[in-house]
């Protein structure tokens, strides 16, 4: 009698897992048939963010074109480095042929890059650079970095702001999670562009941790403290879109110049509708596509440049 539930559980978990194993996901089909050609793994920071979903889409297209198998796995939280590390460790166990990684932590993820090196799995970094010093200290190696220059993107956003404000204005900044190279670089670039324009002051610069709801509340608070703010730079679109709602709620739509980053579909639509002034297009799909193409080339023994820029453009 007491083993009945256990057997039941066994049956359920078997069918569940077997179901997963058979899922139409092209990635999964390689799960048990390891011999079917090279398997390339893509580990974005998360799959809750449209940016990385676009990256996945680009990567999938390239994989299909090249006839290789692509596995995409990500942590639930963009900030959960430990989980990303586990995923990579597990992929190393699976003996993937190449690893494309968007690091959740520029320094924290270095130890697992080392592990991939030891397992002779080439590592291609996308979107966010590894901390050069940490990588060098550990002796780890990566094949290439594929991404856009966030610093440059921030600068473009800053120049646009100066132009739009006509050299006079009170600006707020929504930062990403503190200590993230991506966000820091964008904000640095933005500030740089504003330098030399004494008519423009940054009245508030607060982290909203990449998230839409925090973008809303943080900017709402900024508006309370500085009702005269007339421009906002958010280090990603999610925070910018949150802020747009806060502006609407305050009845100030159109009075604040909102500049985002990433050029997600929704942000592009907001720009068209006039709710946002501009966003910076990073083209994550191109990043994903390029990364897979380069990985395939690498596996064929072709040389790959150490730094591959992906173009940035202003969408306004």
């Amino acid at each position: 009698m007491k083993f009945t539930p256990v057997l039941l559980f066994a049956a359920v978990s078997l069918s569940l897992l077997a179901g997963c194993g058979r899922s139409p996901d092209p990635a999964a089909s390689a799960g048990s048939a390891a011999a079917a050609g090279p398997v390339i793994a893509l580990v974005p920071k998360t799959l809750n963010n449209p940016f990385f979903i676009d990256m996945q889409r680009g990567a999938e297209e390239a994989a299909r074109a090249a006839g290789v198998t692509l596995v995409v796995q990500a942590a639930e939280r963009e900030t959960d480095v430990e989980r990303q590390m586990q995923i990579i460790e597990n992929l190393i166990q699976r003996k993937v042929s190449a690893l494309i990684l968007a690091p959740s932590g520029s320094r924290e993820i270095v130890p697992v890059v080392l592990k991939a090196n030891q397992a002779d799995i080439p590592v291609l970094i996308v979107d966010t650079r590894l901390d050069a010093a940490a990588l060098q200290a550990s002796g780890g190696k990566t094949v290439t970095f594929i991404g856009s220059d966030n610093h440059e993107g921030g600068k473009i956003a800053g120049q646009f702001a100066v132009e739009r404000l006509g050299g006079q204005g009170r600006v707020a900044v929504l930062e990403g999670i503190a200590g993230h190279e991506t966000g820091d670089a964008r904000v640095r670039g933005f500030r740089e562009a504003l330098r030399g324009h004494p008519g423009i002051t940054i009245v508030a610069s607060q982290p909203a941790n990449w998230e839409r709801d925090q973008g809303y509340t943080v900017f709402q608070n900024i508006l309370q403290a500085n009702p005269t703010v007339n421009a906002l730079f958010a280090a990603n679109d999610l925070m910018a879109l949150g802020a747009v709602e806060a502006i609407a709620a305050a009845g100030k739509t159109g009075k604040v110049t909102v500049i985002g980053f990433d050029a997600q579909d929704e942000a592009r639509a907001a720009v068209k509708a006039g709710k946002m002034a501009a966003t910076i297009a990073q083209n994550p799909a191109l990043m994903g596509r390029t990364a897979v193409e380069r990985a395939v080339a690498l596996l064929k023994g072709e040389p790959v440049p150490a730094d591959i820029g992906v173009s940035i453009e202003l969408v306004k």
Binding site: S13, A28, P111, A134
Partner: protein, 315 residues
């Protein structure tokens, strides 16, 4: 006590163990990568952090409480450790400071619960935010990275072919099991969880025990932060978000009753292993991240449901 007899004596744990074994069996059928020495060590290593936090939660939950602050305490203790190391403190001293910070946070929880008469949920919810804020404050929100190899040995070292963190986890479990089964404190923990009033009237120092229990929970969260910091070679103030939920899940899967009074340390280890194996297996199978979350949630529910069915059949 032989293993079969041990299992019979702990029928509830036998159920959890059976679930675990079935899961392993299923995974080894589905993927050739699962049942390899390196992967099993890999799973063990990945389970360590959750498992160590879950021991502390097992004590707290056994006593009829709950601790939501462990994830934040882990972050705070971790950054303290990292800052101490970077300030040039010797490794044992820095680890000591980290554990003290964790235990101190737990002590605050315990004092609030035992003497402030706050519901544990509220007290630890408050401290969850306080500790997180503290961690962000002392680091200015930035990760603290880069440590000596001597410290990183805690994550990278091996003894007898088994990684050091796994040894640490086994040691923690050994001690925790012993304390629960063979010391007054352990007895008091389950007695308080089973019936606080009766325990008080039997002369159990309930308040002091509660403070001890929460201090232990905080201390173990700090111990987990040592291992996590060594593993990532960095301490992040935003580390450990929602780790308390993973640890609660491991504890409950392991058969500890959320009402308190019933459960075991051994069960929690198996619970943590089930979660670790599941995540590992789903990664190996290449299951999509979205489906993984569904499956993990379903397994948590199924395991606890199984427990209810199991107990129901005995009634």
């Amino acid at each position: 006590m032989t293993l079969p007899r041990f299992l019979v004596a702990n029928a509830r744990q036998a159920g959890t163990v059976a679930v675990f074994l079935v899961l392993c069996l299923v995974l080894s059928v589905l993927t050739p990568h699962f049942l390899t020495t390196s992967n099993l060590l890999n799973v063990a290593q990945q389970t360590v952090i959750n498992a160590v936090i879950a021991v502390g939660l097992t004590y707290v939950i056994l006593s009829g409480g709950i601790d939501l602050s462990v994830g934040s305490v882990l972050a705070l203790a971790g950054v303290v450790l990292a800052l101490a190391l970077q300030a040039g403190w010797p490794v044992p001293l820095a680890i000591g400071a980290c554990l003290v910070v964790g235990a101190a946070c737990g002590t605050v929880n315990g004092l609030l619960v035992a003497f402030g008469r706050l519901p544990p949920f509220i007290a630890t919810l408050g401290l969850m935010s306080v500790a997180r804020g503290g961690a962000l404050l002392v680091t200015d929100g930035r990760p603290v990275s880069g440590f000596d190899a001597s410290f990183r040995w805690l994550a990278t070292g091996e003894v007898l072919g088994i990684p050091v963190p796994v040894w640490c986890m086994l040691a923690v479990y050994g001690v925790a099991h012993f304390v629960l089964k063979r010391t007054k404190f352990g007895r008091y923990v389950v007695a308080i969880g089973g019936n606080e009033e009766a325990s008080l009237l039997s002369g159990v120092p309930v308040a002091a025990c509660k403070v001890g229990i929460y201090a232990l929970g905080g201390g173990l969260a700090a111990a987990a932060s040592v291992l996590l910091t060594a593993r990532l070679n960095s301490a992040q103030p935003i580390a450990g978000l929602s780790y308390e939920l993973d640890a609660i899940a491991a504890t409950v899967i392991g058969g500890t009753s959320l009402m308190g009074g019933q459960g075991s340390v051994f069960g929690t280890l198996v619970g943590a292993l089930i979660m670790g194996v599941l995540r590992n297996g789903l990664n190996l199978l290449g299951v999509s991240s979205y489906v993984q979350q569904v499956v993990i949630g379903a397994v948590i529910i199924a395991a606890v449901l199984l427990d209810t069915v199991f107990k129901g059949s005995k009634r």
